[in-house]
């Protein structure tokens, strides 16, 4: 009985003291509109479309991002230019649906679609949350600076024939008998 009382009392008093001593611990709160919080580079925020190092659009309109998207917020249409490069005719992200899961970024084979640390995307009108390709496309390479899909891929475009890509051998002539 006595030990029970003693243990209970010490436990309660120690608890009270421990909680009280938090009075001189600095608060964790970041007062956001006054102080900008540090956003980590891999934070999943506003989605952008990046360009390759040559300044061309990276997106090849493969639709993998739209397929991966769990809330179906990405819509796009493929088209081709005269050189044979694929690019999206339109690319539309409805940010009022987007849940910033980053699946589109994981699915993208060309590192075109990327998530950025920007989170200040509030709008007064819902229609303003639908972003078109002009709004999404940035002038830089985003997180991956050296990657250029058409330079490493075997696809033939204007100015680059089959076998001319980086690390690519000239295609085997299957009709030749020579080894």
């Amino acid at each position: 009985m006595l030990t029970l009382i003693k243990d209970t009392l010490t436990s309660q008093v120690v608890t009270l003291w421990r909680v009280f001593s938090h009075l001189w611990v600095k608060a964790d709160t970041v007062e956001y509109p006054d102080v900008q919080p540090y956003m980590f580079p891999r934070w999943r925020g506003r989605i952008i479309l990046s360009r390759d190092p040559d300044g061309e659009e990276r997106c090849v309109a493969c639709n993998l991002c739209a397929v991966a998207c769990p809330v179906d917020c990405i819509a796009l249409q493929k088209t081709e230019d005269e050189e044979g490069r694929w690019y999206p005719e339109f690319f539309r992200i409805n940010f009022s649906r987007c849940i910033m899961c980053g699946f589109c970024e994981e699915a993208c084979p060309t590192n075109a679609i990327q998530l950025t640390p920007d989170f200040e995307m509030a709008e007064y009108k819902r229609q303003d949350m639908v972003w078109e390709k002009e709004d999404l496309l940035i002038d830089g390479t985003g997180k991956y600076h050296d990657y250029n899909f058409y330079r490493v891929a075997g696809k033939k475009i204007g100015g680059k024939d089959k076998g001319e890509a980086r690390n690519e051998a000239v295609p085997v002539n299957v009709r030749s008998l020579l080894p």
């Binding site: 309660q12 608890t15 009270l16 421990r18 909680v19 009280f20 938090h22 009075l23 611990v25 600095k26 608060a27 964790d28 709160t29 007062e31």
Partner: protein
């Protein structure tokens, strides 16, 4: 008009101050809690967030004052009025400082205990008239809690009454001027009264009738607007009342070194106890209500009886 015990001016000033302090406690509690939880708390409205109370009051006054169609209208409206009235009545016997008070009643201690018991009607009426299972559970728990703490709450302060020989709160304070603060001879009584006071004002860890996590605010689940506000302010008024009672009964009321005026000493002591109550809320988890009942009946009631017995023996043997 003069400022003396029982004058109209004095009553008005005390009423206004007490209600204002109770409203400000909303801000004090949120701020202190947040400091103990390494947050900042409300600091946006006005300097240090002091005007948060004004914002809360504007919100609560402009909310829809809704009575559910299935509720018993009369007692539903009556219940929040009871708790406010009863606790404000209790303040009438508190001696704040020499010459400051509403009435010097010879039955001050008994009056406060009676009013505290009446306050239970408010909770039970609110729970019954709401016709809501959570509210009913809250009222049930309030009744269970009341019968388990009110007994030893009364007995725990009998030691002080026996030492000072009076039920008059002002004379109890004056008796402490000669004998020293009663917290020293009556330490067990003080601890028991503190625990009973927490239960009386429905504060954590004994906020069993309104446990938010279990029965979603208990007896005031169905209340909204100003009627909820009255319960809310009533709870803080109860907190101030218990802190004042502890100050008066055990910590010498307004007594203190002369470099500060008596009313400042009183306010300081009351604030320390209010801060302690808020610390309890931040630190101690809530027991089950059967745990509170067995704790009350099997431990605190015998302890308070024993305390009274020993006090009586000492008084008789020394006189």
């Amino acid at each position: 008009m003069t400022f003396e015990v029982g004058s109209g001016l004095s009553i008005g000033v005390i009423l206004a101050t007490v209600i204002l302090v109770a409203a400000m406690l909303i801000w004090v509690e949120r701020r202190l809690l947040s400091f103990w939880q390494e947050r900042l708390g409300p600091n946006r409205v006005g300097p240090f967030g002091l005007l948060q109370v004004v914002a809360d009051m504007i919100k609560i006054f402009t909310k829809e004052d809704w009575v559910p169609p299935f509720a018993d209208k009369f007692s539903f409206v009556l219940a929040p009025a009871i708790i406010m009235t009863v606790i404000l009545m209790s303040f009438s016997v508190i001696p704040f400082a020499p010459g400051v008070g509403v009435v010097d009643s010879n039955i001050g201690v008994l009056f406060v205990l009676a009013m505290a018991s009446l306050g239970a009607y408010s909770v039970m009426l609110a729970g019954l008239s709401s016709d809501n299972k959570y509210a009913l559970l809250g009222a049930l728990r309030a009744a269970a809690q009341m019968i388990s703490y009110e007994v030893f709450m009364g007995i725990s302060i009998l030691g002080v009454v026996a030492l000072s020989g009076t039920f008059n709160l002002r004379e109890i304070v004056l008796a402490q001027e000669e004998n020293g603060w009663y917290v020293i001879p009556q330490f067990i009584g003080f601890v028991i009264f503190l625990i009973a006071g927490v239960a009386e004002s429905h504060r954590l860890p004994f906020d069993i009738p309104e446990a938010e996590q279990e029965i979603c605010a208990g007896y005031h689940t169905e209340y909204s607007g100003m009627k909820f506000g009255m319960f809310f302010v009533g709870e803080y008024l109860g907190l101030v009342l218990i802190a004042s009672l502890i100050t008066v009964l055990f910590f010498g009321g307004w007594l203190g070194p002369a470099f500060l005026p008596p009313i400042v000493w009183f306010s300081l002591k009351v604030f320390v106890f209010i801060a302690f109550f808020i610390l309890l809320r931040a630190a101690i988890p809530r027991p089950r209500y059967d745990q509170l009942m067995s704790y009350g009946w099997l431990f605190l009631l015998p302890a308070s009886l024993l305390n009274l017995l020993i006090t009586g023996v000492i008084i008789l043997s020394t006189s």
